[in-house]
Point group: C2
Chain length 332, copies 2
């Protein structure tokens, strides 16, 4: 009898059934043996598994299987955890209206993404691309480049990732404005966005994808930006109207852009986005450092322990706005 079979066959001491939605199995779940019955699900099985699950771990954060299966019949898990910062792939009106608690992977991606954004900013400021090209041509051509300190950034998104980006850029001497869903101390409301964007050298999107933010970076936003400014998206692809970004780059409304996320992922080889002058394309990896899957696995185990002991969970997502609200964020 294999361990996996045993885990399937033997209910946990406390009768908890954990349903794991995964493409690749998550690490470290073995330590739950004896504490939970673990079911593995996929697109084709999740609809019939949801009624028997107490807990759902959305490990495959690219799948929208939860959103499609959730409105079905029967009981629903009491707790859903997603191994991602965003919850857009799983939220649906029925889940939002339910008693089910949703938690996310706050704490894992903030620093890596902030570092990634800082690297893009410096690489543009110092014209690393130009240096690489001149090196290929064996040409010694001294240029004057930009001082990062003293430049201005707008970070759109006032969650943990947006605030980590702001802190890291501020550490480099960048003057940072953060915008969020609602104005509050240190955070501008959406009504300030265009005015802030107009003065920014770097516009960074780290917003959650919600009905209020979908497509918010459109021709109007790019038109408001300085022709010397750069745009970065590390949020979700659908925050950006991609054709408007391409037009803005083609018309030189902005100096350049870097997209780590796309409306359709993975980006197919035939996508026009791959070879747009001034556009850097990366495969949704800005937050994924070596060991990230272990970190996500450990985080889930920690939350599982808290949940199983009946204590209140951290990282609880406000299902109506689609992210962990700031007043619950005491430590970033």
């Amino acid at each position: 009898m294999t361990d996996a079979h045993e885990a399937l066959a033997a209910p946990g001491d406390d009768g908890i059934t954990l349903l794991v939605l995964d493409a690749d199995p998550p690490p470290r779940l073995g330590s739950l043996t004896g504490r939970a019955r673990i079911l593995h699900g996929d697109d084709s099985t999740i609809a019939r598994q949801l009624p028997v699950a107490d807990v759902l771990l959305v490990w495959d954060f690219l799948s929208d299987a939860v959103r499609r299966a959730w409105p079905g019949e029967g009981a629903r898990p009491r707790w859903v955890h997603t191994a991602s910062a965003g919850v857009d792939h799983l939220m649906c009106p029925e889940l939002a209206a339910s008693d089910t608690v949703v938690t996310n992977a706050r704490g894992i991606f903030e620093t890596p993404i902030a570092e990634y954004v800082a690297g893009l900013v410096i690489a543009w400021a110092k014209d690393f691309a130009g240096t690489n090209e001149l090196q290929r041509q064996r040409r010694w051509r001294h240029r004057e480049t930009r001082r990062v300190a003293g430049t201005r950034a707008v970070v759109v998104g006032s969650g943990p990732i947006g605030r980590a980006i702001a802190r890291t850029l501020e550490a480099l001497g960048v003057r940072v404005a953060v915008t969020g869903r609602t104005a509050r101390p240190g955070v501008h409301g959406p009504q300030d966005l265009l005015a802030l964007v107009a003065r920014a050298d770097w516009v960074v999107c780290a917003a959650p994808l919600t009905d209020a933010t979908r497509g918010m970076f459109d021709a109007r936003t790019f038109d408001a930006m300085s022709p010397a400014a750069y745009f970065i998206n590390v949020g979700r692809g659908q925050l950006v109207v991609e054709e408007d970004l391409l037009a803005a780059l083609a018309k030189r409304w902005i100096a350049g852009a870097a997209l780590d996320v796309f409306a359709h992922e993975p980006l197919p080889p035939e996508s026009p986005l791959w070879d747009v002058p001034g556009l850097t394309v990366s495969p949704h990896m800005s937050g994924d450092v070596i060991g990230w899957r272990d970190e996500l696995g450990s985080q889930f185990l920690e939350l599982f322990g808290i949940w199983a002991s009946g204590k209140p969970l951290p990282n609880v997502v406000d299902k109506n706005v689609g992210y962990v609200p700031s007043h619950d964020l005491t430590q970033d």
Copy 2:
């Protein structure tokens, strides 16, 4: 009569003669009209101009004309200012032994160079080069990259530039050790270098070029480094034994390197350094941000005012060690 002719013909009110060694004329010197007689010199004229100059401004910091002309006959300037951080291009035993005060451009290059180094570190950690190459191939290939926070750096050089690099890396969460000519609080002595280098992810050279530092990065240093570590030189080219670095890269003793300075500048098109796998070559530009020449010009004017009023100059170089000693650095 042109302004330039007038400046040459009319001694300043206080009879100061300023000799400017320049390839391109420095900006902003016009404001000295009436306060100093300005002579422009070059390799062929400086030997006969030195005896009549009260002040020498070494604007062309690549020239070694001063070092060659200084041991000559006659009076010498009382003050020499170089529009550079390093003074290796002008120092000679006779200048070191003289009463002449030497000042440098401390304060201009620190932040730009620190930003440049931070950008290289992040670009390596996040494999920006791999992303660019995969984009060219239109291939979506997710990778796990490195978290910068928690990595270790050794910064060789405890002057203002080295310390600015250390501060900037520390702001990114890097654990930084600084080495200098002598051990003191917060600075390791040269005897610790190999042990520190062995544990470092990033080894950054920002040392002055002196007889004690020439060639200090040789096979022994590179052999001590981790095969996963990277080397950056923003100091002077002759601090590195270039053939040893090439051998270390070829043997994969180290993961990569970036050189902004070279034993012979500009690097000729036929140099083997241009296309070494893992080596980034840039044309001595890491400190040169837009407006740097104006900043250097303004700085000289400020120092000129201080000197002309008889007050003690800041940025005075210890001619025996070849840089501004740390105990004179109150504000970085």
